[in-house]
């Protein structure tokens, strides 16, 4: 048979490749389901991670179908058969420089796109006017903390331990001892930027509620900052998550949830908790007085 040039053969392969690429684009359109893309919908950073992922997924699928298509075509076309001799080619500098350059361009484009998206994922926005009234969060130099433009947010200190999560709601008075504390279920207001500073008191854990954004390790001696902001329509939703870093035998059951409340409901919840806390403190102080006076407690 007449021998075609390498280039003509590549051109011939182009049509099925283009078809595969458009099929993958279509597939990516349906990528909202979380079997093919990460969970999102609870916070803008999770949404931004999702859309960045979809860009990479579509690019990846195009590359996959193109390369896999080329491979299958070559395998089928050049299988051993009578009358066909293997051509003794040692290489082709132009082609090789071509795909080195092609790979480099692709990688640079993906890096630029990622940087373009980074701000949206990394930097918390201000709370909405309808959100819970927040206070200025103290700067935490030397960490990866990022503050909203106006510096205000609801700051929750997340503490991981074997095997659970403790949440301390920073009331902004500089005294952590009188903050409201909750375990496992984190009640949070919608429309409000919530800043989390995450640490651990024993082994390493990892905070992860997929719909509210990525995971952040809780490491004893370090503070790891992240944020989320739940939109108003997600009030009364409970977002599930669990520890993502092996932390011992019961790692599988170190779950957590974030329960979204309207700002008003959250205000009530926080106030009730605070009252409970203060009452408990008063009772404890009275008991302490009795003990100090030498009386036995009933």
């Amino acid at each position: 048979m007449p021998r075609k040039s390498l280039f003509a053969r590549l051109q011939k392969a182009f049509v099925p490749l283009a078809a595969a690429a458009s099929a993958s684009l279509f597939l990516a359109e349906t990528a909202s389901a979380n079997w093919i893309a990460p969970e999102h919908g609870g916070s803008p950073n999770a949404d931004a991670i999702h859309s960045l992922y979809v860009i990479l997924l579509v690019t990846g699928l195009i590359v996959f179908f193109a390369v896999e298509g080329l491979l299958l075509y070559v395998l089928w076309r050049f299988r051993a058969s009578r009358g066909h001799e293997a051509k003794q080619i040692h290489g082709n500098t132009t082609l090789e420089i071509g795909w080195t350059g092609g790979a480099a361009v692709l990688v640079i484009v993906l890096a630029v796109v990622s940087f373009f998206k980074l701000g949206e994922i990394r930097n918390p926005p201000n709370s909405d006017a309808a959100g819970f009234a927040t206070t200025v969060v103290a700067a935490d130099p030397g960490t990866n903390q990022k503050l909203p433009p106006n510096g205000k947010a609801l700051h929750i200190r997340v503490l991981g331990f074997q095997y659970g999560w403790q949440f301390a709601y920073d009331d902004g008075d500089g005294n952590p001892d009188n903050d409201v504390i909750a375990y496992r279920d984190m009640y949070v207001p919608t429309d409000t930027t919530v800043l989390l500073s995450i640490t651990s008191r024993d082994v390493i854990h990892s905070w992860w509620i997929p719909e509210l954004g990525g995971k952040f390790d809780a490491v004893n001696g370090f503070k790891n900052w992240t944020w989320f902001k739940i939109p108003a329509e997600k009030a009364d939703t409970s977002f599930r998550g669990q520890c993502a870093e092996l932390c011992g035998r019961n790692h599988a059951n170190m779950t957590a949830s974030a329960k979204a409340l309207t700002p008003a409901e959250f205000g009530t919840w926080l106030k009730n908790k605070k009252t409970e806390l203060d009452d408990a403190k008063v009772q404890a102080a009275e008991a302490r007085k009795l003990v100090d006076a030498g009386e036995t407690l009933k």
Partner: protein, 571 residues
Amino acid sequence: MAAADVTTKTEEQTLPKVPLLTTHSVEPELTGWRAWVLTTDHKKIGIMYIVTALVFFVLGGVEALLIRLQLGTPDNTLLDPQTYNAMFTMHGTTMVFLFVIPIMAGFGNYFAPLQIGARDMAFPKLNGLSYWFYVAGGVVFYSSLFFGAPEAAWTAYAPLSDDAYTPGFGTDSWIFLVHLTGISSLVGAVNFVVTIANMRAPGMGWGRMPIFVWTILIYSIMLIVALPVIAVAATLLLTDRHFGTHFYDVAGGGDPMLWQHLFWFFGHPEVYIMIIPGFGIISEVLPVFSRKPIFGYKAIAAATASIAFLGTLVWAHHMFTTPSPTAVLIFFMIGSFLIGIPTGVKLFNWIFTLYDGAIEFKTPLLFAVGFLSMFLIGGISGIVLATFPIDWQLHDSYFVVAHFHYVLVGGAMFSITSGLYYWYPKMTGRMMGETMGKWSFWFMFVGFNITFLVQHSLGLDGMPRRIYEYEDIGNWGTWNLISTIGSFILGFGLLLSMINAYRSLKKGAVSGPDPWRGNTLEWFIPSPPPVNNFDIIPTVRSVEPLKDIRQEVAARSQAPGATEAPAPAAH
């Protein structure tokens, strides 16, 4: 040598008047088990490496199937959490330290000296020492089954691996495994470097070395760079556990992040240490079965070296979720992206090695092509994971588990199987069964993809790794069941190849010296090769010395039918 008998008088006069060789005593050749245990022959040591590694592979495989059985249904109670943690710790450690690295050392031991035309490794006794340290590491590690198995995962993150959280023998046995197999690999790596640098056949310059030898050289250099770091890290962990130091303990002024940096400075190069000899095997198999020279020899060798170099600079991409400054994350993301370039170059060069060839679909080629497909998927998901904001979602989820199994099973494991089918006739003198080999390939290929493709979805749907039980959230139950079924199909495929290898020892067709019409020097000598390998070491004039020899023989015998016949050749 025959040449000595026909030495003429004039030559005799020019010889020095001292004996060329002296010996104090001549030992009789060892027979039976002593021939194996006391051997310093690189081929016997190579076979012992391969067989021992396959034994550990079976153990690691059984652990994997137990893990999959436990995860097959939600809220399963087959394994308790302690056993489950022990199983994935031992599975990971076994596959990395006791299977992939040593079996690559086994292939390297057997075939690197043959491919460069050497009669043994540079330091034969050191070579034996290296093997026995490896066995010792495996025995110490597996003895922990009787004393309390390790539970802190193969990454042994401090402080979980500290005595406060995992007391007992388990983590200590892991530390000793790291030390013993570390010495083994380090000694072996030095041996490889010296052998390859000094003992190549006349005419075999660096530019004519087979790609497999290039990859064994790069594998060795990477081991020499990475292993001392993990040895130090593990020693610090040992003193933290037993001698009251606080290197990784915050309460004592230590730093748990130090462990992660030291571990991954070793651990990431380790990934490439596992896959690079696989690249070498693929680069040998593809040209032979497509009857073409490798496409872009220099580009493939250079790409392998640059992957190795970049691979030592990207360790913190395993640490994107730790409390680290964004600038650090960006550096490690860019570095990881860059690895995509030489990897892409290699993939295209491999595909174009097949292009315009006359491809014979023998079992080694099937596994090599399976490697190309699945390594491509692993490479693409690797770029996705290297994008650190995306990694924040996917890190430590089943997506990562899927990714590295595509690289290490689809990549390393398939290249190892390809190499086993390709080199088995050289090692035993017999062919492995083709039909059974092809069945094995299809079971493995389908089973592998069923097992691990759905794990991407599990991770995207929020399932973290290393959990011993789960509630039936979303489709977790269904996907896990599919994955478990797939793992047994994969296991059955592997079993077929193992039975095939065992049966073929006695029943395989006799292969002769060169059953595949290979291009490299191991096919020049009988199968299995004699103890001294080469009676005559040929002079090398290209990357494909055996093809040159075949053509030369054909030209001299003046028989046109004996030249490179068009494929398919009759074997």
